[in-house]
């Protein structure tokens, strides 16, 4: 009988099985074997068997490694140390097989052979190594042109959707931006000096395929200022069913019901076979473009909306990013953007409390104050609605003469 009857249940079924995969690799790797044993124990006890992480790292770096120790080193020595190495992924998660094979070889030599492709932040997450391997891993990586990602109170590894590399919706060059910012801020990435973590995610358009608005302290989301490009001949083809919305099995588009009536601003009309868009009232939601990509295209005057402050619930409740700059051009070298972030970091550094994300600080000090302090003008695009409570801190008043 198997040692691991519980997790063996997860070998069954049509979805790719991580247990099967670990088992295959365990044939050549002791750490994998003990990981399976430890995991079986968790499945039995309904409890994690990892201890609170210790601080481990590589020389000169304050982040990039997550220390991890099991609570049962005597039982399963193979995973008594089982640290994670976060390798900074190439922008857009594109790989040559030679690059990937190099990583596999490295992890065969220095680790458990297990990875997450990718971690939620975007890194290549190399699961399971021991402290003694860390320096070698780092040296090897850097020799081959790779570097570590972030962890702790630093700028975290930026990530992005594939943008202009394979998407006609991209209003900004997400991968170029991601690569540039990552390099510009290597020090902020590798040497934690902030009140808390700071994540940047870049999406090419409001579809936000990298979920930046939900999970980055700074969301850079592509948009456009001019008009939706429209190809009337293609509209007619959608109307006739010659073209379909391919992303649904049942993709025949009813232009009135599926497009016009679903436009959130009501700025479209379809009469006598003519589709018209009142672009001044379009809020760039993407719906019509998503449905009829052959007929409608984003404008040509691309740039980004900058939003700040998304984070998970703890401590004061989850936040989504919210608008700071409605439109900014994002052309290299991105000076205007970088200066803005510089001012934001400076202000956060001085005013953020320990373990206070930027979004929490904005709520605490008031978005109006924050906006002013980082040198932006308060504008109604920043909010869904003005305050309804009358608790206003008036800063100017008259004095008796």
């Amino acid at each position: 009988m198997s040692n691991t009857p519980l997790i063996d249940e997860l070998v069954k079924g049509p979805w790719p099985s991580f247990i099967k995969d670990i088992k295959r690799t365990a044939e050549k790797n002791e750490m994998c074997k003990d990981l399976l044993n430890l995991l079986e124990m968790s499945y039995r006890d309904k409890k994690t068997h990892w201890k609170h992480g210790g601080i481990v790292g590589v020389r000169g770096y304050g982040g990039g490694i997550i220390g991890r120790y099991s609570d049962s080193p005597e039982l399963y020595p193979g995973v008594s140390h089982f640290h994670t190495v976060r390798i900074n992924q190439p922008a857009g998660w594109f790989y040559s097989t030679s690059a990937l094979r190099y990583i596999c070889d490295l992890w065969e030599k220095h680790g458990s052979g297990l990875t997450n492709l990718h971690g939620s932040t975007g890194d290549m997450v190399m699961l399971g190594t021991t402290t003694e391997h860390l320096e070698d891993i780092f040296t090897d990586l850097s020799e081959h042109g790779w570097d570590l990602g972030g962890s702790g109170s630093d700028m975290r590894t930026p990530s992005c959707c594939l943008g202009k590399s394979r998407c006609e919706f991209a209003c900004i060059d997400t991968m170029a931006i991601c690569h540039d910012l990552t390099n510009e801020w290597q020090d902020e990435l590798h040497r934690p000096a902030f009140p808390y973590k700071f994540k940047i995610k870049i999406a090419g358009c409001p579809n936000d395929c990298v979920a930046s608005i939900a999970r980055s302290d700074c969301s850079i989301i592509g948009t456009w200022r001019d008009n939706i490009r429209q190809d009337d001949a293609a509209v007619a083809k959608y109307a006739s069913g010659e073209l379909v919305y391919g992303a649904r099995a049942d993709g025949k588009v009813d232009i009135k019901a599926d497009v016009v009536d679903k436009c959130p601003t009501g700025c479209m009309s379809y009469e006598g076979g003519k589709l018209s868009i009142d672009n001044k009232n379009c809020n760039r939601c993407m719906h019509c473009i998503n449905l009829m990509p052959q007929a409608l295209r984003v404008g040509v005057d691309g740039g980004a909306t900058i939003l700040l402050g998304a984070k998970a619930p703890i401590v004061q409740g989850a936040l989504l990013s919210s608008v700071l700059v409605p439109f900014i051009k994002m052309d290299p070298p991105y000076e205007e953007f970088k200066e803005l972030i510089g001012r934001i970091w400076e202000f956060w550094d001085e005013n953020g409390e320990a373990r206070e994300r930027i979004g929490e600080m904005i709520v605490r000090i008031g978005k109006g104050n924050f906006v002013e302090e980082v040198g932006c003008d308060p504008i109604p695009e920043m909010i869904c609605e003005p305050r309804s409570n009358p608790y206003i801190f008036y800063e100017e008043y008259f004095e008796e003469e």
Binding site: D8, L10, K12, G13, F18, D21, R24, Y43, D45, K46, K47, W50, H52, R68, I87, F94, Y95, S96, S98, L100, I103, C104, L114, T115, N116, L117, H118, T139, S142, G145, W146, D147, S159, K164, S165, R166, C167, E168, H179, T182, Q186, H190, P206, D208, C209, V210, A211, I213, A214, R215, G246, R248, A249, R284, C285, A312, P313, I314, G317, L320
Partner: protein
Amino acid sequence: MAAPKRKTDIGPPHYDQMLHPAIKANYGKWKSHQNLKPGVLMHEGESGAKVYTVRGASARLISITTIREMCDLADKYCDGFLRYTSRNNVEFMTDKEANVEPLIADLKAMGVPVGGTGSSISNIVHTQGWVHCHSSATDASGVVKVVMDELIDYFTSMSLPAHLRIAVACCLNMCGAVHCSDIAILGIHRTPPTIDHDKLGNMCEIPTTVASCPKAAIRPAMVEGKQSVEVIEDLCMYCGNCYTVCPAMPIANPLNDGISIWVGGKVSNSRTKPMFSKLAIPYLPNTPPRWPEVSDAVKNIVEVYARDAKKYERVGEWINRIGWPQFFEKTNLEFTKYHIDDFTLASSTYNSSTHIKF
């Protein structure tokens, strides 16, 4: 012996080296795309060039054995290039239409389902769980496996009213975009932390520990002559943030830890604004190895949604149209006091209207 070369701060490799030639050639010059069938996209450049993408499922927690197999396929069909998506699927791109079907056949042979595009259930974004995290209230990869085993037909087809995105997080830290998912599966603790008074004073900074509690449930205290803290259990809602900050306050409790289910979040700005997920099921027991209560619950919600929603309605948009009372009625889920918010924005969730359906 010379010390090995050690460069720092060089950043990641440039993506340029990682791009298929056809991707490079059309970079920034795409015109449109089509979704040819589940898991297969065709992008068309301004020049008329075509690139085919085949998307395969991945467990995300994958070993070098699997990665090398993926590389083999990329070498065979895609000139040695591949990528992963923001939801951890693997994508193979080629400009040769003829390669598409053989590639799909090889993937299937390898046990990799092809799909996840368009109005499907794509891969489940998830976290570490018992595989690697000290904080986890449940496993992540195992839950993903059993749920996707159940829902695989929705991955390999595009039959839903709209995209449906599921995420799993193993504790309230919610690594991943769990809080804005069509369906979110969240590991939860349900009992207050225990306190190791012997260790606390040495291991933890008391002011930081006190400040970590969203409910101000932690107070400095002298216990048996030791500097420590006490937890006002009536105020604690088991978030585990104190444990994150202070290892001497473990919160895991196998009898009571479990899973909650959340619905109706979204991230895209398409039609409606991004939305948080809302509580659907406050507690399901932790039942490894196959968590049948969880996979049944998720499947039920998906099926009701698939039947009831209109075209192009994400889960949250569907619920907003029919209203939460009908959501609970149609899914046959129990509504409890736990569903009623009592945190800082609670009053904004009360129904301050007479808009009620009878």
